[in-house]
């Protein structure tokens, strides 16, 4: 039985989280396999919510599975697919099933996903979602009505330390804290100087826990793509070169090594409070990353 | 004096069917200055495009004595010509003469007789310039007109007073033939007071009588008589030909009003908004290279000895090449205007005009400033509400020209029917030369391809063209700064439409060539014709659909 995530955050240890993705369908085999593989190796496991606007098995369902199998889930909740009634309802369900951690996201827009003609709901945004949870904790719903049984959650959000321009992002960061965020998982960072700079600002604002996002780079191509196309992610040329220079078939190994090295450095230099490891489609190698980081 | 001349077998010329009426009463200064109301700017535009027959009929509509007026007028038009602010006035009178001589030399078809659909008969006494002008107008209004002339020959002062080396008689005869061909009866050797009296005329059933007997036979009516009108020299004393003609027009209006039971008081003067150009604006356009100063073409002369010896005209008249170039000096003043009822003030014309002519008024309407308009035509095509009227020939008559070209040379089943829309400024060649070089293509002139709109191009295909090309200057040489740019833009959007319709992009083409590159065009036109030939025959039938046939006026 995993320890509550909030305890891990409070303990001051170097927190490690990772994530699993639900399947596009009812075949839960791989999901269960990844849950079992990782549940004891990390402090908590995120479960994504129709990530990248691709329809999948629901995150609240997967979070329940993690809980059932002895892991500590962080329920990712986006505002793209559900209005405030549905979001509150899901929170009630999650709470009754023992889920105590939620990551509040706005959500990717519809056109990037696989249902390009769907309606993007966005009844709330991530800041309002955080606030919603705190309001529900006080025993009310967003309509001002009394709840018959309240909730309690460790709520977090995301931040992009290398957003350009950075100022609006920082304003948002502060708003999220004011709305009730107690931890952050960042967008992937590869330049630790930038991360340090961001942390300076963050520490001035508050003591919220910040876990640096580490996305596994499987090839030079992937690194270049992310650097060019994903907003807020910048991969330094030397890392791209390192991947490009790898022997044939060894690029993934190199990527694992890079991820491990980054994690190790962040931990040794106490740059921030932990890491959030994302190995989308390659959840199986997360233990190898941890090993490469000396954990 | 009756000559066997061709009667027109074609539809009325294009210039005769389009009214080109300004709704805001804008007039270029040349037209405003002409006492007879001749459409000066408009016929100069037609000459500039090589449309001499259209120019001729447009001139004759207001100045039936074009051969005389092209030689002996005091040119009030030239005195007001805006071109003088750039270099020298356009040689309007010489250009009128060019058309008149051309009409005579090439024996342009005479007008068709007008169907006499009105019951009334009008008598005109005196076959001088006033009388015959009134006769022409009344015949065009479908009255039965009879002219009584005391002398053996019509023409009045023009025949009697002008020597042969000022006005060759055969030209005067030709002018008169054009008038009489409308179906006017002329009785010569019949003098009022001798052969007949006013009382007799009335008893014979003439609804109105017009006295136009001239200054040398000025006749004071003993008392004002209803149904009898006096015009011209007979009432006001000797004047220039143009005034006599103007009097003829006024007389016809009075008679027509009288016969219809309307007031014959002279209509309240409708003050024209005269399109005077701003000197500063013109200087700037010259400075920027949009208007190229060019001296007025000189009139070639016989030496003084030859002309006296042969009693021929000392002035030889412009050649076609010179006339084209001289007519192309015209600035086209006051041609574009906004129809306020349709204008949504979308500001498209304000944004697109290469010369920043349309302006937002203090009332937040949009107006085209007549003192600046260059008559390029870009705004006319782009206006989404079709709220810009172009009162000069060249845009609103383009589709009738295309239809007339297809009528003259009907679509063949074996040869591709190709229409070539060419810029006259680019071509610098008259219609005969063009026809010679491009015998199998229906070539239609324009004052810059900027005047062609998507609608014109679609219509061309709709009425039977298998292929259409535009040819004009290269982008840097355009006479209108951005004319070529807009032409290219419209061709591209029309090509897209043609693809969607199922006709295909390849049927439309635009060529931008160095000036007067007829040789180069010949090669391209051959290629284009080949291309069209190889395409499947146009899937459109060549007969026009009944709901888009133009109704032409039954005037001539």
């Amino acid at each position: 039985m995993a320890k509550p995530f909030r305890e891990a955050l409070k303990s001051g240890k170097f927190v490690v989280t990772s994530e699993v993705a639900p399947p596009k369908g009812t075949n839960l085999e791989e999901l269960l396999h990844h849950i079992d593989l990782l549940r004891d190796k990390v402090d908590a496991l995120n479960v994504t919510d129709n990530q990248s606007s691709v329809m999948r098995f629901p995150s609240v369902g997967a979070a329940i599975l993690i809980k059932e199998r002895g892991g500590e889930p962080i329920l990712q909740m986006t505002c793209r697919d559900r209005n405030r009634l549905a979001l509150q309802a899901d929170i009630l369900l999650a709470y009754t099933r023992g889920i105590r951690n939620v990551l509040c996201l706005t959500g990717d827009s519809i056109p990037v996903g696989d249902h390009k003609e769907a309606k993007g709901v966005f009844d709330l945004d991530s800041v309002q979602l955080l606030k919603m949870i705190r309001i529900m904790e006080s025993g009310k719903d967003l309509g001002g009505n009394d709840l018959n049984g309240a909730v309690e959650f460790c709520a977090g959000a995301i931040v992009t330390p290398e957003a350009r321009p950075i100022e609006p992002q920082l304003i948002k960061f502060e708003k999220k804290i004011a709305a009730g965020a107690e931890f952050f998982q960042t967008q992937a960072v590869y330049d630790l100087d930038n991360l340090k700079r961001f942390m300076e600002f963050a520490r001035r604002c508050s003591n919220v826990k910040i876990l640096a996002g580490i996305v596994l780079l499987a090839s030079a191509g992937m690194a270049r793509y992310m650097d060019k196309n994903v907003p807020g992610i910048f991969v330094p040329q030397q890392l791209i070169d390192e991947l490009a220079g790898a022997e044939k078939g060894k690029a993934l190994e190199t990527g694992i090594r890079i991820a491990g090295r980054l994690i190790k450095t962040i931990k040794e230099e106490a740059i921030c409070d932990g890491v959030h490891i994302m190995a989308i489609g390659r959840e199986g190698v997360v233990p190898d990353i941890l090993a490469a980081a000396g954990m | 004096m009756k000559r066997s001349s061709k009667k027109s077998t074609l539809s009325p010329t294009v210039a005769q069917t389009i009214p080109f009426v300004s709704q805001r009463n804008v007039e270029p200064p040349c037209q405003a200055a002409c006492p007879a109301g001749v459409r000066v700017r408009d016929y100069i535009a037609l000459i500039a495009q090589g449309r001499y027959q259209d120019a001729d009929s447009l001139i004759r509509d207001k100045m039936p004595f074009s051969s005389a007026c092209g030689r002996i007028c005091y040119q009030p038009c030239e005195a007001e010509c805006n071109r003088a602010l750039v270099d020298e006035p356009v040689a309007i009178m010489y250009l009128k003469r060019f058309v008149s001589d051309y009409a005579y030399q090439t024996k342009l078809p005479l007008p068709n007789p007008v169907a006499k659909t009105r019951a009334e008969r009008i008598a005109i006494v005196g076959a001088g310039p006033s009388g015959l002008t009134a006769a022409q107008d009344l015949a065009k209004l479908a009255y039965t007109v009879t002219v009584f002339e005391a002398s053996p020959f019509p023409g009045g002062t023009l025949r009697a007073a002008l020597p042969l080396y000022r006005l060759p008689k055969k030209l005067l005869d030709w002018d008169i033939e054009n008038i009489l061909a409308l179906g006017i009866k002329l009785n010569t050797n019949t003098a009022l007071g001798r052969g007949f009296s006013l009382k007799e005329l009335r008893e014979e059933g003439y609804s109105a009588i017009l006295i136009a007997t001239g200054a040398d036979r000025s006749r004071k009516l003993s008392q004002p008589e209803i149904g009898v009108f006096a015009i011209g020299d007979s009432s006001f004393g000797p004047m220039w030909t143009v005034h006599a003609v103007a009097a003829g027009h006024q007389g016809a209006v009075s008679v027509d009003n009288y016969v219809q039971g309307k007031s014959t008081m002279p209509a309240k003067a409708n003050h024209a908004l005269v399109a005077k150009r701003e000197k500063g604006d013109l200087e700037e356009k010259v400075f920027q290279g949009y208007i190229k100063p060019k001296p007025r073409a000189a009139m070639p002369l016989w030496g003084p000895l030859e002309s006296i010896h042969d009693l021929v005209e000392m002035e030889l008249g412009y050649s076609e090449e010179v006339a084209l170039q001289e007519a192309q000096r015209c600035l086209g003043c006051g041609a574009a205007e906004i129809l306020e009822a349709k204008c949504t003030a979308c500001l498209t014309c304000v944004r697109l005009c290469p010369y920043q002519v349309p302006a937002i008024t203090p009332l937040n309407t949009v107006e085209i400033r007549v003192e600046r308009c260059q008559a390029c035509g870009v705004c006319v095509g782009e206006c989404p509400a079709r709220a810009i009227a172009f009162t000069m020939p060249g845009i609103e008559d383009l589709i009738p020209q295309i239809e007339a070209a297809l009528e003259a040379k009907p679509v063949s089943k074996t040869k591709p029917t190709i229409i070539g829309l060419y810029c006259s400024y680019w071509a610098k060649a008259g219609p005969e030369l063009i026809k010679e070089r491009f015998p199998s293509i229906r070539m239609i002139p324009l004052l810059c391809i900027a005047k062609v709109d998507t609608l014109h191009l679609l219509k061309a295909f709709e009425v039977g063209a298998h292929g259409v090309f535009l040819v004009g200057c290269e982008e840097g040489d355009c006479s209108y700064q951005k004319g070529v740019f807009w032409a290219k833009h419209r061709v591209e959007s029309t090509k897209k439409l043609l693809a969607e319709i199922g006709l295909g992009r390849e049927r439309l083409e635009i060529y931008n060539l160095p000036a007067s590159g007829l040789e180069q065009l010949a090669g391209l036109a051959t290629e284009f014709t080949q291309r069209i030939k190889q395409l499947t025959p146009s899937p459109l039938k060549n007969r026009r659909q009944s709901n888009d046939r133009r109704k032409t006026k039954a005037t001539v």
């Binding site: 827009s109 945004d125 309002q128 992009t160 992002q169 948002k172 | 349709k342 949504t344 979308c346 969607e500």
Partner: protein
């Protein structure tokens, strides 16, 4: 103003497939200004349809006309005789005009030739951008005169989101990130506090759809 785009020719052809006499009706106000359905466009469409018909060997009569504005009953009065003579009308007006026509001529199929798209502003000749959503609860005073509901793809009130990319939106690199614009505007005005404040969830029922306003 209302901005729309004409439907593709093939779609319009399909709509009129079963009709023999069709009137193409343009509108002289908003859709003229956005070059989608004014007199010129109506004429171009009618000509194109006639030619496409000829190519298919289809006998059909297509006429065109334009009224000042299709969303005013009085301006539709002059159409009574014309509409009697046709089997169907293709209206190039926005959805309001189409429905106004359908109300006046309930037994004649009124077909939409235009896709009404948005309320927008002309950036330059031929380019329009949506700027207002008619949400019924204008907050432009709080966002420096830039509407986040319309110009932010997600309509966020507490923006930007993580997809903001160098001042552009992740969805379309040609589109600006509204919240970056708002930040820049408020900074210029020295009013960044407006951006720092928390905006509660939007009232989506500010205008209960379908909206109706009755002057008192």
């Amino acid at each position: 103003m209302i901005v729309g785009k004409q439907k593709p020719l093939s779609e319009i052809r399909e709509m009129i497939a079963e009709y023999q006499k069709v009137l193409i009706l343009g509108c002289g106000t908003c859709v003229t200004i956005c070059f989608a359905g004014g007199e010129r466009e109506a004429a171009i469409l009618a000509s194109s349809l006639r030619m496409a018909d000829k190519i298919d060997g289809k006998e059909r009569v297509i006429t065109e006309y334009t009224v000042k504005r299709q969303c005013e009953r009085e301006f539709l009065e002059e159409l009574d005789e014309k509409v009697k003579e046709v089997d169907a009308v293709v209206s190039l007006a926005c959805g309001i005009g189409v429905q106004a026509l359908a109300e006046r001529f309930p037994t004649t199929p009124i077909l939409p030739g235009l896709n009404t798209s948005f309320l927008g502003f002309p950036d330059e000749h031929g380019v329009w951008s949506e700027t207002c959503s008619a949400c019924g609860n204008c907050i432009l005073d709080q966002t420096g005169g830039i509407c986040p509901i319309t110009r932010c793809t997600k309509g966020l009130l507490n923006g930007p989101c993580g997809g903001t990319n160098n001042g552009k939106c992740e969805v379309d690199p040609e589109k600006d990130c509204a919240w970056t614009l708002i930040y820049q505007r408020l900074e210029k005005q020295g009013k960044l506090d407006l951006m720092r404040q928390y905006y509660p969830p939007r009232n989506f029922q500010a205008v209960v759809r379908p909206g109706k306003i009755r002057m008192e």
